[in-house]
């Protein structure tokens, strides 16, 4: 425990935000010096480190706040760094540290103008994210939130010559803006409830006020929509698989690793902090929505053939799990089951942190693959483990983590989540008792699918034989990128092996949002294992599992060396006697996804192109489309178009008609005049 702090963590964090802004401005000045521009990213990384450190300091100190002399006349900028924000500050700082380092290396071969543009936008985005976490009134929050949206939009369309990038960027920004409007309304209603005028926009005042349930539900719904647009759960997910593939890989990592999490932060802020008395059905709604999203994401990611699309659907899946966790937390909280609420909250936060780390790792890894091969399509990769040993080894860790198997980090949060599901059996409503535990099955199904997806992702990219001749020239990641990947893989291992220590990071947040006593007692543990005292009792000791794995395998190796010292001989693969000289004998990405498409066929909107029997160069292709796109997005677009057509009918090409409008309006006004 840190006792004496030299500086207020909030000041440090603010200074870092200011520094990022300065770096963004500096990119304008240095726009012709590529080395200096890349050095900016190292500076940004240092800032990220400080930000994470500030978060860590803030965890163990009482929340600090301050105001800046900016903003509206009766509403100066309120800033605050509390325990919840601190958790996300650590997440953000750590992830951004790795991503900044990675980017410094990644941009080595880019054009100077592009580096300059990215450097400016990237650091602006970092500053905006930092400010979102520090914001303590709705005005600052919205400013930071929207600045974050459009600066990330600019990053997404860095390759603006691609039509797809522009389309994706537009979809993203429009979704975000709709969300922001909803948030503005939600904050407005919250503020109206405080009866404090503009000053009611300060979160501090909102925390003191309790809204009547009906209004609170409206706020909740608007907030869920607004933050959902950012986090990307159903049906607001459509921008995710479009934007991630076209964005530069570090940006995808930042999007998936941090930006989605801020949606989660917002939902936590709304449901547990600003609206204090959650209603039980909010929890159920989020739980169902979360599980549906998770299943959707998992199924769809299994059907993808593009590395980054696959990963982005996997992000949807993880966001779904996180949302389910929040749903459980709120459900427990609504029934005042503090211990279980704490458990579910910790599962949520754990999952959030995990996903940030491993998904950034995976996206950065795909970035390196993309750099080395110029290929995003899984069907044209393969065998990269020989060419890119570093990336392959580190991404293996990431894949295991994403698949949620012990002793890696993905499993810890899954375990906590399942345990909280298991506790969901003593609600006053019997049907909740019966229905909620079934959610656990969905979680496990999702985890199983995630493992499937990760085997597909890793196996097809890195294992097997190269599917294209050009892959033979692939090179491993450079130094900066390697450091970043190492950092994130280390993060995965740490989070996986030391759950008890990680959980300590969440205690202050749980104490802030739920109950200090429960936060202290629900989970305990030490370096070897962590122990649960909620409705169920259980232990999990990943370090023991890993130790045993290592010990037994080492012993086996030694014993077998001694007992069966047969020499190793390299031969051509056997393959049941079939020819293996061509890499085309391997499963394609589509082939690997086939069982999923078969099993979940009703969920897909599929187009399959089957070769004719006599074709000499047979091509099999399948395209999986999002049914929600057709069920929701296109109809909305169409109805807007129709509306605007109707409105366009008002333009009649005749002055006489326009005069008639004026005339009729006048008559109407005169009729209506009092």
């Amino acid at each position: 425990m840190i006792t004496q702090v030299g500086h207020d963590p909030l000041d440090i964090a603010l200074a870092v935000c200011a520094m990022w802004l300065v770096l963004a401005a500096a990119s304008l000045a240095l726009s012709h010096r590529p080395r200096a521009l890349r050095a900016l990213f190292v500076g940004g990384a240092a800032g990220s480190f400080l930000f994470a450190a500030a978060g860590l300091l803030a965890l163990f100190a009482p929340a600090t706040h301050t105001t800046l002399p900016l903003g509206l006349p009766q509403l100066a900028f309120h800033l605050r760094l509390d325990a919840l924000a601190a958790v996300f500050a650590i997440l953000f700082g750590f992830t951004a540290l790795a991503i900044s380092l990675y980017t410094a290396g990644y941009l080595r071969h880019e054009q100077t103008a592009r580096i300059a543009r990215m450097a400016g936008q990237y650091h602006l985005l970092l500053a905006a994210i930092g400010l979102v976490l520090l914001a303590d009134d709705a005005y600052v929050f919205l400013i930071a939130w929207e600045t974050m949206a459009w600066s990330s939009y600019l990053l997404i369309i860095s390759d603006d010559h691609m039509v797809l990038a522009r389309r994706a960027g537009l979809l993203y920004l429009i979704t975000e803006h709709m969300g922001a409007i909803a948030l503005m309304l939600a904050f407005g209603i919250l503020q109206a409830g405080t009866h404090a005028g503009l000053a009611g926009y300060a979160f501090g005042v909102m925390r003191e006020t309790t809204l009547p349930p009906a209004l609170a539900s409206v706020v909740f719904a608007l907030g869920l929509f607004g933050f959902g647009a950012k986090a990307g759960f159903l049906p607001l997910h459509a921008w995710l698989p479009e934007a991630h593939p076209v964005a530069p890989s570090p940006v995808s990592a930042l999007l998936s690793g941090v930006l989605l999490k801020l949606g989660i932060y917002g939902i936590l802020l709304f449901t547990l902090e600003l609206l204090h008395a959650p209603l039980w059905w909010w929890g159920v709604l989020m739980l169902v929505l979360g599980l549906v999203t998770a299943l959707f994401g998992a199924i769809y990611s299994a059907a993808q053939n593009d590395m980054k699309r696959l990963l982005s659907y996997s992000s949807i899946e993880n966001i779904g799990l996180i949302l389910a966790g929040i749903g459980l937390t709120v459900l427990f909280q609504a029934y005042h089951m503090a211990a279980l609420a704490t458990l579910a909250l910790m599962a949520t936060l754990y999952q959030t942190l995990n996903h940030a780390v491993f998904k950034s790792l995976l996206f950065l890894g795909t970035g390196s693959v993309l750099h080395a091969t110029g290929e995003r399509n899984l069907g044209k990769l393969g065998g990269l483990i020989h060419r890119m040993p570093w990336v392959a080894a580190l991404l293996l860790i990431g894949s295991f983590a994403a698949a949620g198997v012990p002793p890696f980090n993905g499993f810890v949060s899954e375990w906590l989540l399942l345990q909280s599901f298991l506790g969901a059996t003593s609600f006053p409503q019997p049907y909740l008792n019966m229905a909620v535990p079934l959610g656990a099955a969905a979680v496990v199904l999702v985890a199983g699918l995630a493992a499937y997806v990760m085997v597909k992702f890793y196996g097809i990219t890195f294992l097997g034989q190269p599917r294209e001749a050009a892959l033979k020239n692939a090179h491993d990641a450079g130094f900066g990128e390697r450091i970043a990947l190492l950092l994130l893989a280390g993060g995965c291992l740490f989070l996986g092996l030391f759950p008890a220590w990680t959980v300590d990071l969440f205690r202050p947040a749980a104490a802030q949002l739920i109950d200090p006593g429960a936060a202290r007692d629900t989970l305990e543990g030490h370096v070897l294992f962590c122990r649960l005292h909620a409705a169920t009792h259980a232990d999990y000791g990943p370090l023991i599992v890993l130790g045993a794995l290592a010990l037994v395998s080492a012993a086996l190796v030694l014993i077998l060396r001694r007992l069966a010292p047969a020499p190793l001989r390299r031969v051509a693969p056997w393959n049941g006697g079939h020819d293996t000289r061509t890499a085309r004998m391997q499963d394609t990405a589509e082939g690997f996804g086939q069982p999923i498409r078969q099993v979940f066929a009703p969920f897909f909107r599929m187009q399959i192109q089957r070769p004719a029997p006599a074709e000499t160069a047979p091509v099999y292709a399948s395209r999986v489309e999002d049914p929600l796109w057709y069920a929701l997005y296109l109809p909305i677009t169409r109805s807007v178009c129709r509306m605007s057509e109707w409105v366009a009918l008002l333009r009649r090409r005749r002055i006489a008609i326009y005069l008639l409008y004026a005339f009729v309006t006048l008559i109407i006004l005169l009729v209506l005049a009092p």
């Binding site: 333009r651 005749r654 005169l670």
Partner: protein, 217 residues
């Protein structure tokens, strides 16, 4: 009722009649004549009001209006018509009876709106307010149904007549400065329109408004 008030009411009725006539008139030259007539009636009614209320400034106003609307503007318009070769052009007006019927309905509506207001008025010739409103609405209607630029402008000018009529007969005149300003605007407007017509004809070969509605979205 004093005599001048009776005269004002009579002039108001004539004013309205001319407005109806303009609505139904097809030939441009006749339209201009009617406009001049309306201007004359307007000037006379201002004189009557000035006489009845002993406001000398209204005589000036009457002179100004008379000069402008009986002489200057009609002259300009005649010249324009001649130079544009429109003198005997006639417009295709659809269903004059229908139009007049609509005008009648408008009239009733205007009187209905004006009634409560007229009751409150302290001035003597309060009933003219309804007539002013009616003639404004009729002029608007005329602008809507006309298809050439020149006739539309005539509708506009007649609308302006109605306004001045309202200003003088109902309220015994606006302050002089305002009246002067209004007059200035009207005369500048007419000049600009004159310039305009030539450009429009140059570009479109016609003053028919249907021709130039194609640049829209």
């Amino acid at each position: 009722m004093p005599l001048f008030a009776q005269i004002t009411n009579l002039l108001a009725a004539l004013f309205l009649l001319v407005a109806f006539a303009m609505l139904a008139q097809r030939r441009i030259v006749h339209l201009i004549n009617l406009y001049a007539l309306q201007g004359g009636i307007l000037a006379l009614s201002i004189v009557a009001v000035g006489y009845g209320t002993h406001q000398e400034s209204l005589y000036l106003s009457a002179a100004l209006n008379g000069l402008l609307k009986v002489i200057v503007i009609p002259l300009i318009l005649y010249r324009l018509v001649r130079r544009l070769g429109l003198a005997w052009n006639r417009e295709n007006l659809l269903r004059v009876p229908t139009l007049l019927l609509v005008g009648l309905v408008l009239n009733i509506f205007a009187f209905d709106v004006a009634l409560p207001i007229a009751h409150l008025a302290g001035t003597i010739n309060r009933d003219t307010f309804g007539i002013a409103l009616a003639s404004v609405l009729l002029s608007l209607l005329m602008m809507i149904v006309r298809t050439t630029a020149l006739t539309q402008v005539l509708g506009f000018l007649s609308l302006e007549n109605g306004l001045i009529f309202a200003a003088t007969s109902v309220t015994y005149g606006m302050p002089m400065m305002v009246e002067l300003g209004i007059a200035l605007d009207v005369i500048v407007g007419v000049f600009i329109l004159g310039v305009f017509f030539f450009h429009i004809r140059e570009e479109f070969d016609s003053l028919d408004l249907h021709r130039f509605d194609r640049h829209e979205e």
